[in-house]
């Protein structure tokens, strides 16, 4: 019969462990150093978004990421050591049998882990208070509690939580301090060095969290990483419970005994299954991103001459639909044209020289590119593509685009308009329109030629002449600051969220 702890009794257990840990010098040192790292992070200019600009450390938006990142990295390492030392304490001290005959030792370990998590919460709260004090009273930077605390919560606290659960789990599996620490270090360095945002469990991908953190699609991206690691870390911890050695037995007999408590293996299977499911079905990243696959060269025997596009943006669904007409001149004998697409956007209709050609399109395996068959003998080719869907992001480079209610940010490398892999002998004539809710202010490529309003939506029309095809659009509830740079009139668009930063920066002085 398992030892079941009633709620109040469980609370006493937890309180007892918190009290025990708070008397540990190592715990006090971990708390102090993590708080110190939080404060030092205020000077971490490399973690701000706009690092190419000057005078960055001005607002919560531009300084909030550094403290969270520094504290996450330092806190993770310190709490890993703390967790391993506290969980191995009884084994090293030879006090396991005293405790094992006094209470349910498995439950004790669960409560000890919970107590370390509580210490983690306390540390982050203390770090937040210290951050506030230094930011406001020493550096005299305004403190936005939502921005700073959400960074600390999503990055630092989550990083510490995952660390504690992973280290506890690994220690219970191996019952060896050295192996556990080594395994943790491997996971830690994987997180630090990986380009896959899903594997960045300690500090997550840096650029996502400052002013981007307030944008829903980006925040979803962040939460997805945290969701995955919640499953992974809890799963590892539960595997640890399943492997905990019983009655001085070896691993296989202990497994057999622990499996009798059916909820443990069921939970293990659920959590590991959920981890795998979440990892495999990651919805945001294009895993076949071929941005660095330079062996696929542009075909210089085909020239793009005209592009005409109509793009509808739907912030509520974070989706788009587009119809793009491309005109090419090519040498006779060329049988195909390659396009870089976005794997989140699906082609609905395709015509080549006015004829529907659904079967003339082939995906290039392992890439996000498609190859379109064109009549070999034709010197002029017109391709009309309609597509729709949600953008996926390249796995290896930053965050090139999103569509949200409050703003839209579509860089050319998000391939929101499919990019033909061709040359351009002369200037390309680009015409297009972008339709979005009317509350947004749209910044289009080239020259704005007209704005139409219909059914609560606006269409911004534009045209441009360019020697390459790399369109990008930006939209938001922008404020506009007009200024003169010499004789040139400059319109400076910025989000109201950044007003404090812009005013503090004195942008007109640069």
């Amino acid at each position: 019969m398992a030892n079941r702890i009633p709620f109040l009794s469980g609370f006493s257990f937890l309180f007892n462990e918190i009290r025990l840990i708070s008397r540990s010098k190592l715990a006090l040192m971990s708390i102090f150093l993590t708080v110190l790292a939080t404060i030092l992070g205020l000077k971490a200019i490399d973690y701000t978004n706009e690092r190419s600009l000057v005078g960055l450390a001005k607002t919560s938006f531009t300084v909030a990421l550094g403290p969270a990142q520094y504290a996450a990295i330092a806190g993770s390492l310190l709490f890993a050591v703390l967790t391993l030392m506290l969980l191995s304490k009884d084994h090293r001290n030879n006090s396991t049998s005293l405790l094992n005959t006094s209470c349910n030792y498995s439950q004790l370990l669960v409560f000890r882990t919970a107590a370390i998590l509580f210490i983690g919460i306390f540390t982050v709260v203390l770090g937040g208070i210290a951050l506030y004090a230094v930011q406001v009273f020493v550096l005299e930077i305004t403190f936005d509690p939502v921005v700073s605390l959400s960074n600390l919560l999503v990055i630092t606290l989550a990083g510490i939580f995952f660390t504690v659960l992973i280290c506890s789990g690994i220690y219970l599996i191996t019952e060896n301090l050295d192996i556990s620490f080594l395994a943790y270090c491997i996971l830690f360095f994987m997180s630090i060095s990986s380009s896959n945002y899903l594997l960045k469990w300690v500090q997550t991908s840096a650029v996502m969290y400052s002013d981007f953190g307030g944008i829903l699609p980006v925040f979803k991206f962040v939460l997805y990483n945290r969701l995955l690691w919640t499953f992974v870390s809890t799963g590892i911890f539960t595997v640890g419970l399943l492997c905990r050695r019983r009655y001085e037995s070896n691993l296989s007999l202990s497994l057999k005994l622990n499996t009798k408590q059916l909820w443990i293996p069921v939970l293990v299977l659920l959590l590991l299954g959920a981890s795998l499911f979440v990892y495999i079905n990651e919805p945001y990243i294009n895993r076949n991103d071929s941005v660095f696959k330079t062996e696929l060269k542009a075909n210089e025997n085909v020239n793009l001459t005209h592009v005409s596009s109509n793009v509808q943006l739907f912030p509520v669904n974070q989706s788009l639909s587009a119809r793009v007409l491309y005109e090419f001149e090519k040498e006779s004998g060329i049988e195909y044209i390659d396009f870089i697409t976005n794997s989140g956007l699906h082609i609905k209709k395709l015509t080549v020289n006015g004829v529907e050609a659904p079967n003339s399109l082939k995906s290039i395996k392992g890439t996000d590119r498609v190859r379109l068959e064109v009549p070999a003998e034709s010197r002029n080719v017109t391709i009309d593509i309609s597509y729709a869907g949600r953008l996926k992001y390249p796995s290896s480079i930053g965050f090139p685009g999103y569509i949200s209610k409050e703003s839209i940010y579509l860089l050319e490398n998000s391939h929101w308009i499919f990019e033909p892999l061709t040359g351009s002998k002369d200037m390309i004539e680009i015409r297009g329109s972008v339709t979005a809710p009317k509350n947004l202010v749209m910044v289009v490529p080239g020259e704005l030629t007209g704005v139409l309003e219909e059914h609560g939506r606006k269409t911004w029309e534009y045209s441009a002449l360019s020697n390459d095809f790399s369109p990008g659009v930006f939209a938001g509830n922008y404020e506009v600051k007009k200024m003169l740079a010499g004789s040139t009139e400059v319109e400076f668009y910025y989000s109201p969220k950044h007003r404090a930063y812009i005013e503090a920066l004195g942008i007109e002085n640069y």
Binding site: M1, T101, S102, C103
Partner: protein, 288 residues
């Protein structure tokens, strides 16, 4: 509390059994001494009894309930001091006992119990001292204090006096005896004096089997006529039979006096009243 042990055995893998065919019954109040040479299986037996180890075969029942299905019941009425144990050295005596009291589920009576245990174990002056500053004997007393916290009906102490100086050993034995009222105390040791002074029942374990279970006086009676002394002026010592052993050699003015235990004492040896240690040695020689 009653404990009933039937056909208990323990073997590790294909190796020879550490324990075999153990059948015992215990009921309080009683201080039971479990003695035997090193490697006899005493610690293994204790560990199985407190559910630190699983038996290979056999059953243990506590108050009629199978121990495997009533671990909570066992823990509620158990006080255990293992042979080797560590304490949380960074805590004070009081803090450690407070921590253990909560683990044992003590409620409102916790403070009173802690203070009582500190007093019983003579640790009042040291209650605010960090455990790392205590001597070996004092740490042993902290160990017994934690075992007594829940006022256990069953107190199991495994080799508690190993490493203690004679004064601490006597003090520890007295402590056990003073706290044995209404309890069942199982004391495992290989130091005969510990058992002789406080136990009313003796179990001799050797090579995993029980060779004696009864009153210490009965064991002494068994050895009557099998213990003797020999005064010798020969430095080389007496030439005795193979089934006899010399348990002591005392230098005298004329040479040496040998104390000899054996099934058949050689001629010329003066029989003496056996001590418990003699009786134990006699039993061990008989068990091969």
């Amino acid at each position: 509390m009653e404990i009933e042990i039937k056909n208990l055995s323990k073997a590790y893998g294909s190796e020879k059994s550490v324990l075999s065919g153990i059948n015992l019954e215990f009921c309080p109040p009683s201080i039971v001494g479990l003695i035997g040479p090193n490697g006899a299986g005493k610690t293994t037996f204790m560990k199985i009894l407190v559910r630190q180890l699983l038996a290979s075969t056999g059953s243990i029942k506590i108050d009629g309930m199978d121990i495997s299905k009533s671990e909570n019941y066992l823990k509620n009425c158990l006080g255990y001091l293992p042979q080797e144990f560590g304490l949380y050295e960074e805590l004070t005596v009081y803090q450690f006992l407070d921590y253990m009291a909560l683990l044992k589920g003590l409620g409102p009576e916790k403070k009173e119990r802690i203070e009582s245990c500190i007093e019983k174990t003579g640790l009042s002056e040291k209650q605010n001292a960090r455990i790392k500053t205590l001597s070996g004997g004092q740490k042993q007393r902290v160990g017994i204090a934690q075992a007594l916290l829940n006022d256990p009906e069953l107190l199991i102490v495994d080799e508690p006096t190993v490493g203690l100086d004679p004064a601490e050993r006597v003090r520890f034995r007295n402590l056990l005896a003073e706290n044995a009222n209404h309890r069942l105390v199982l004391l495992s040791t290989h130091i005969i004096e510990d058992v002789e002074s406080i136990c009313n029942r003796l179990i001799v374990l050797n090579r995993g089997e029980i060779f004696f279970d009864g009153n210490p006086v009965e064991l002494i009676k068994k050895a009557a006529g099998h213990v003797g002394v020999l005064d010798s002026d020969c430095e080389a010592g007496p030439d005795i039979e193979k089934d006899c052993i010399v348990t002591s050699r005392l230098i005298t003015e004329t040479g040496a006096q040998y104390r000899i235990v054996g099934d058949k004492l050689p001629s010329g040896i003066k029989p003496v009243t056996p001590s418990l240690e003699d009786a134990y040695m006699y039993l061990i020689t008989q068990s091969g």
